[in-house]
């Protein structure tokens, strides 16, 4: 896949999306991030990082560009895809009431984009009230329901809150800005084990050979049944007559025909606290055993 990875940051008004974005902009990433925000005025970066700034775009010395999306987000995305700046990664801040899935879905549909997940920011201090709010409760709930990662801001995560969130979404819960940013900025296409960096504080990686041929539906079934804690999984697997490209982010699973013959294998990235390599090894061994069994017989 050659498309540009796209991540959406969702969450209700005041959840802490802007704080998170301001931190992303300060990170020395070495990649060209394009961050599209609602409220340009709330963007706050150190003047020493500024390369240029005008009414609707700021350029930073770390390669980041931050711009307003204006009245129509999709037009803005089209402008990026058809323009000269080819960012390495697009991050979109959804508006406070928006359904982030309706935005992120464009990355699934558009061949020039790659879905990279939805991070929903939750105001830990107010979320329980917001969830039962007569006016916005359902929409706040939906923002959490569609999340691939949940970040609880503004308060320590307690058991009660975790349980409430777990009734809405199975997505892993992040507890700090730092961990959230690490997950968000984690490499989107690690290809081989030797490229995997030393284990990181927030996330961990897993790699496996895919040396058997799969039945496509059986593979999808196995991916749905993967151990918890995996945020993203990528790779190539051989089917009977073709190569399949595997792209998993949260609950989203894409298995599509890939035109070229490439080396097979799977890479996963997950929260260090939740993803366990032994579980994944065992799961994958079993999946390979059943690789050719029609999934209706599993």
């Amino acid at each position: 896949m050659t498309g540009i990875p796209l991540t959406v940051i969702g969450g209700y008004l005041g959840a802490g999306k802007t704080t998170l974005i301001n931190q992303i902009l300060r990170e020395p990433q070495g990649k060209r991030y394009l961050v599209m925000v609602n409220d340009f005025g709330a963007i706050n970066v150190d003047a020493s990082l500024l390369v240029s700034a005008d009414e609707d775009t700021i350029q930073l010395s770390n390669g980041c560009v931050c711009c307003t999306m204006g009245a129509d987000l999709f037009l803005a995305i089209g402008d990026v895809l058809d323009g000269d700046m080819r960012p390495d990664h697009i991050v979109i801040e959804a508006s406070g009431i928006a359904d982030p899935a309706k935005i992120a879905n464009v990355a699934v549909a558009e061949p020039d984009l790659v879905y990279q997940g939805i991070i929903t920011v939750v105001d830990g201090a107010n979320i329980l009230d917001q969830l039962v709010d007569h006016f916005v409760g359902n929409q706040v709930r939906d923002q959490i329901r569609v999340a691939d990662l949940i970040y609880v801001s503004k308060t320590e995560l307690n058991d009660h809150l975790s349980m409430q969130l777990a009734t809405i979404s199975k997505a892993p819960i992040l507890k700090s800005d730092a961990a959230t940013i690490e997950m968000l900025l984690s490499p989107s296409t690690p290809k081989a084990p030797d490229q995997i960096a030393a284990p990181h504080a927030a996330y961990t990686k897993w790699f496996a050979e895919a040396d058997v041929e799969f039945n496509r539906n059986t593979l999808i079934y196995a991916l749905q049944d993967r151990p918890k804690g995996v945020f993203r999984m990528k790779g190539f697997v051989r089917a009977e007559t073709r190569m399949l490209s595997v792209h998993v982010v949260g609950a989203h699973i894409d298995v599509t025909t890939f035109p070229n013959d490439v080396e097979t294998g799977l890479v996963a990235i997950g929260l260090a606290s939740e993803m366990n390599a032994q579980d994944l090894d065992a799961w994958w061994a079993k999946a390979k055993e059943n690789a050719r069994t029609p999934y209706s017989m599993l």
Binding site: F40, A71, D72, L75, A101, N105
Partner: protein
């Protein structure tokens, strides 16, 4: 030759209570000098007689208080809707009552296209088509080699042919929400919501932005207005970049340009104080035929899409309550900031919960920043009852009511959305007038066709497509309807000092009609032949 032009008409309906009818209007430059009989301008010196309109009825130029500029350029695409419609150049596009006519008519149109151009249609509304759902299989009958996309009338859905699916790479492996699939797992061609439609629009060159603000789009919009007798039109939810304003200023500045445009800035994409600042800057750039400075706020969705925020008992089909486009908390914040800065707001409210919240937000803002001349306008107002209208009257809030919905969607509302008894008091123009609210009525073109006389007919007769009278208690008189499409709408735009009636001192904007709208019971309003307009004293016959 005198520079005073004396127009003679069969009859002039002035909407000025001091002189309800006349036969002559004297015009000097772009303004009305005098109204009355053949001698009305004698005091002012010699006149030049203009008899070109003497067979017609003149009324104040109509004011369309809620429409969108894309109503013009959307006709660059092939019309595929259920109702007969006339394009900006006067060509009749017949309605398509079943899928066979959709396919047949688009096939004819396809033959006229250059080889490398995709076929784009618009206006399809499956709610009116009783047979099976449109799919790629139907569109493949038109062409298997040319990409085809047909937009639905709500612009939230489209259907494409197999060639388009191939161009965007949609297949049975596609996992995107909104790419609808059949039982065998293949895309049917139907695509729902923007994310799924985006890759098609990008590749087929369907660009909503070029449907407004570009020069051809502005000129096309003017033609639509002229055909409908409209001399002042809104563009509610405008983006207005510096380039857009430059283009609009240049074109509307031409003496021959036949319509006054009132864009309302979309209040999104920035923090409320920045939006306010931008609106104030725009206001200072206003010219006679380009009136800038108002803003448009979105609140909820649409009733027929079940996305309007409605109060108890909700939707009859048990659908969950609708969606906010702007959460109430932010509505309060925006309203307060605009009120503080002295910026007039047009606020989209379809469901009665959305109107309730918006009225509450204006009330809260008014306590902090009193402004009796604000004339904020609630737009659509489809489910408002007497209680809400009275609150509006008390605070000077105007309502612009979506009367066209009664005919286009009234039957659906009674059967499928909010149920019979609330449908009978939808778009309650009678209740609003009785409560003392300033009322306008509108088309929301291109959602329904622009045609103030048709809109007036809807408010007078309240007939639905099935012929039913939906809530006879809410019918209004012909005079009240004519007021709503002239002075009533002008008041909502704060332009009633300049337009909306034919009286000395106002701008010479008239609608030229073949028949007298005040004759009869109003049942013929929609059939009146509009011959053109006079805009700022210039005659534009179509």
């Amino acid at each position: 030759m005198s520079d005073i032009i004396l127009f003679e008409a069969k009859k002039v309906i002035t909407m000025d209570p001091n002189r309800p009818t006349a036969t002559h209007i004297a015009v000097k430059g772009d303004r009305i000098l005098a109204v009355g009989g053949a001698d009305c301008a004698d005091q002012w010196g010699d006149v030049t007689n203009d008899l070109s309109l003497s067979d017609f009825i003149l009324t104040p130029g109509f004011v369309e208080g809620h429409a969108h500029m894309m109503a013009g350029a959307i006709w660059d695409f092939a019309y595929a809707g259920y109702h007969d419609r006339i394009d900006p150049d006067g060509k009749l596009w017949s309605g398509k009552g079943d899928l066979n006519s959709v396919i047949g008519d688009l096939s004819e149109y396809e033959k006229t296209l250059p080889e490398d151009q995709p076929l784009v249609g618009w206006g399809l509304d499956p709610i009116f088509l009783q047979d099976e759902r449109l799919s790629r299989k139907h569109l493949d009958q038109i062409s298997e080699t040319r990409p085809i996309a047909v937009l639905f009338s709500n612009f939230h859905l489209m259907c494409v042919n197999s060639k388009t699916l191939e161009v965007v790479g949609y297949s049975n492996e596609t996992n995107a929400e909104g790419v609808i699939k059949d039982d065998a797992g293949h895309p049917t061609g139907e695509l729902q919501e923007m994310a799924a439609m985006f890759p098609v629009m990008r590749r087929l060159g369907i660009d909503f932005r070029s449907l407004s603000q570009t020069e051809p789009a502005i000129r096309s919009y003017a033609k639509v207005c002229q055909r409908a007798g409209v001399t002042t039109v809104t563009d509610l939810f405008s983006t207005l970049t510096d380039d857009d304003v430059t283009t609009l200023t240049r074109i509307t500045g031409e003496a021959q340009f036949p319509v006054r445009i009132v864009p309302a800035l979309a209040a999104v994409g920035a923090a409320p104080p920045e939006i306010a600042q931008f609106a104030l800057k725009l206001r200072s750039m206003s010219t006679d035929k380009l009136r800038l400075g108002a803003v448009k706020l979105m609140t909820d969705g649409s009733i027929q899409g079940w996305t309007a925020r409605v109060k108890w008992p909700g939707y009859v089909g048990g659908q969950p309550n609708g969606l906010w486009n702007t959460p109430p908390e932010l509505i309060y914040e925006l309203v307060e900031e605009m009120q503080r800065a002295g910026i007039q707001m047009h606020i989209h409210v379809n469901g009665d919960e959305a109107s309730d919240v918006s009225i509450g937000a204006i009330e809260a803002a008014s306590r902090k920043h009193p402004w009796t001349e604000a004339r904020h306008v609630l737009q659509h107002c489809q489910m408002m009852g007497v209680d809400q209208f009275k609150r509006c009257a008390n605070m000077g809030i105007c309502t612009n009511i979506f009367a066209n919905h009664i005919w286009y969607f009234g039957d659906q509302h009674a059967a499928l959305t909010i149920g019979n008894d609330r449908a009978e008091r939808m778009d309650a123009v009678r209740a609003a007038l009785d409560a003392g609210v300033n009322v306008a009525i509108h088309s929301d073109a291109p959602v329904t066709p622009m045609g103030p006389l048709f809109t007036a007919w809807c408010a007078v007769t309240r007939q639905t497509m099935s012929g039913r009278v939906l809530g006879a208690e809410q019918c209004i008189s012909v005079e009240e309807a004519l007021h709503a499409i002239t002075l009533g709408a002008a008041y909502t735009l704060k332009l009633d000092h300049d337009i909306g009636s034919i009286e000395a001192g106002k701008i010479a904007d008239f609608a030229i009609l073949a028949q007298d709208p005040t004759e009869g019971d109003g049942s013929a309003l929609k059939d009146i032949d509009v011959k053109g307009t006079v805009s700022s004293g210039v005659v534009h016959l179509t």
